[in-house]
Amino acid sequence: MAEEPTITASTRDTTGSRGSRLLGVATLVGLAVLGVLAFVLTDPDVRIHPSTGDEFGQFDAVRMLYVHVPLAAMTYLAYGLCAVASLGVLIRRTPWWDVTAHAAAEVGTVFCGLVLVTGSIWGRPVWNTWWEWGDVRLMTTLVLFLMFAGYLALRRTTGDPRTVSRRAAVVALIAVLDLPLVNRSVEWWENRTLHQQSTLGELKIEDLTLFTLMLGFLVLGMVLAWLLLHRFRVGWLERAALDHSVAAAIAERRGETPDEELRRAVGDSPAAREGFDENDRDGDPEAGRP
C-alpha cells in the first residue's frame, strides 16, 4: 500500500479525504502488524505422524495463507459488490451504480489475480506443483478471473458509454454465477480438489494462527475498502469530466451555425441544393459548400 502520497497531499486536487487518509494509515499499521504476526509470532505448521513419528506439514509455507485466504475472501466480496451494482445499473441506470460496478470489478480482478499467483507459489512447495489441472477450485477461480478480464476489456471498447455500461452489467451478472461454484466446489467435488475443506467452523487450527488469519481478513478488507474508495472516486471524476465537456459541447453546438450557412443550406438561393450530400448523416457540420 502506498498511502504516502495521500497523507502528505497538500492540495485539494486529490481523491483523498480525511476519512480515506485515516483508513489508509490504519491499513498500513494493520499490514505491519499482520506481517509481524505472520512471520514472527506464529509457529510453522509442523505435525508429527502418530505412528511413524515423522515430521510433516506445510512448515513455513503456511505463512503464505495469511495473505492468500483473505485475498480470496475479499475477491468474493468485491465481485459480489460488482454484481449488486450491476443489477443497480440495469434497474436504476444511475451513474453511481455504474461507477461502483466498474470499480468493484477492477479491484476484484487485481485481488483475484493475486489469489491465483499466491496460490500457485504456495502450491509449488506444498502440493509439489505450480498448477494442478484436476483441482476444481483452481479451475473455477481461473474462469472467474478470465470472465472479469473480458469484462474489463469490454469496458475499454469504444461505443456509446450507456450501451457499454448496460452490456458490462450483463457480463458481470453472468460471471458471478461462477462465485458459488468457486466457493462450494471444495464441498461438492471433494475428491477433485487438493484444497482443504473449510476448517474455520471446526476450529482445528490453533489460537494464534486463527487470530492472524482473522486479522488478515480485517486488514485486507481495509485494503479493499481503501482501493474501492479511490477507484470509485477516480471513476466518478472521469465521469464528471465527461459530463462537464458534454455541457460545454451542448452550449457550443447551439451557437455553431452561422446564419449565412443556414441560409445556404435551407435553400434561399437557387444553388443551395447542390451543397448537400445525399447521405446526410449527422456528422460533420462543416459539410456545406465552402
Partner: protein, 226 residues
C-alpha cells in the same frame, strides 16, 4: 392532439450532443418538412421520435408515451414507421421473403401478412418478377421501394421519412409523394427530412428548420417555428 411533443430535448450520440435542446410540437394529421444543413441533427431527431434513442434530458412525448421509459419506447416503436438511409432488408432473402418476414414480425397472421404484402407491392409498383429475386440483385431504387412496401404493410400512425426521395427515379419520387398523401388521408402524421425542397413543398407541409441540434427560425422567415 399532439403526436410529438418535445421540450428542450437533448439527445447524445456517444458523447456528442446531436440534439442540443429541441422544442417542437407536431399535431395529428400534419405533414412536417425538416430542413437544415448537414449535421443539424435531422436524422437524430427522427430517431428520437421513433423511440430508438433515450433522451438525455428534456421532455419527449410521442403518441402519448414518455420516451424516458424503455417500455414506452418499445410501445412507440411498433406504431411508428422509420425509413432511414439503410434498406432494413436482408440482402440474401428475396423481396417476397423480406416483405413476409417484416409483416409477420409486426404480428400479422400469415393470411393477413400475404394480403397486405400484395397490396403494398402493387401500391409501390414492385413488379411480380422481382418477388423471387434476392434483394442484393436489385437496383437502389427497387430496394427503396421494397423498404417502403415493408413499412406500408405495418400501417403506422406516425411516418418518419429520412430523405425518402434519395436514389429514386422520377416515378419513384412521385410514388413517395403519393404515399405521403395516402398516409395523411388515412389520418397519419408524416415527418419528412428532405433536400428536395421544391418537391416536398408541393405537399404544403409545415416547415421546421434545424441548426446546431435545435429548432431555429428559418432565415427566410417562412414557416420557421420556435
Amino acid at each position: 392532439m399532439s403526436v410529438v411533443e418535445l421540450r428542450a430535448a437533448v439527445a447524445l450520440l456517444g458523447r456528442f450532443p446531436a440534439l442540443s435542446g429541441v422544442d417542437l410540437t407536431i399535431h395529428a394529421g400534419e405533414t412536417v418538412l425538416l430542413r437544415g444543413p448537414n449535421g443539424a441533427g435531422k436524422t437524430t431527431l427522427l430517431h428520437l421520435c421513433a423511440g430508438l434513442l433515450r433522451p438525455e434530458s428534456g421532455g419527449v412525448r410521442v403518441l402519448g408515451h414518455d420516451l424516458t421509459g424503455a417500455a414506452d419506447r418499445r410501445s412507440v416503436r411498433r406504431r411508428v414507421a422509420l425509413l432511414g438511409h439503410a434498406t432494413g432488408l436482408y440482402d440474401d432473402l428475396t423481396v417476397g421473403e423480406n416483405l413476409r418476414f417484416w409483416a409477420r414480425a409486426a404480428g400479422l397472421s400469415a393470411a393477413e401478412a400475404d394480403r397486405r404484402t400484395d397490396e403494398a407491392r402493387s401500391r409501390l409498383e414492385v413488379p411480380d418478377r422481382l418477388v423471387d429475386q434476392p434483394v442484393h440483385t436489385l437496383s437502389a431504387g427497387q430496394r427503396r421501394r421494397t423498404s417502403l412496401a415493408a413499412l406500408v404493410v405495418r400501417r403506422p400512425e406516425l411516418w418518419l421519412l429520412d430523405e425518402p426521395h434519395a436514389g429514386l427515379d422520377q416515378t419513384g419520387r412521385d410514388l413517395v409523394d403519393a404515399l405521403i398523401g395516402d398516409a395523411v388521408a388515412a389520418g397519419g402524421t408524416v415527418v419528412v427530412s428532405s433536400h428536395e425542397l421544391d418537391r416536398v413543398a408541393a405537399l404544403s407541409p409545415r416547415t421546421v428548420t434545424l441548426a446546431g441540434g435545435a429548432v431555429v427560425d428559418g432565415p427566410s422567415g417562412n414557416g420557421g417555428i420556435r
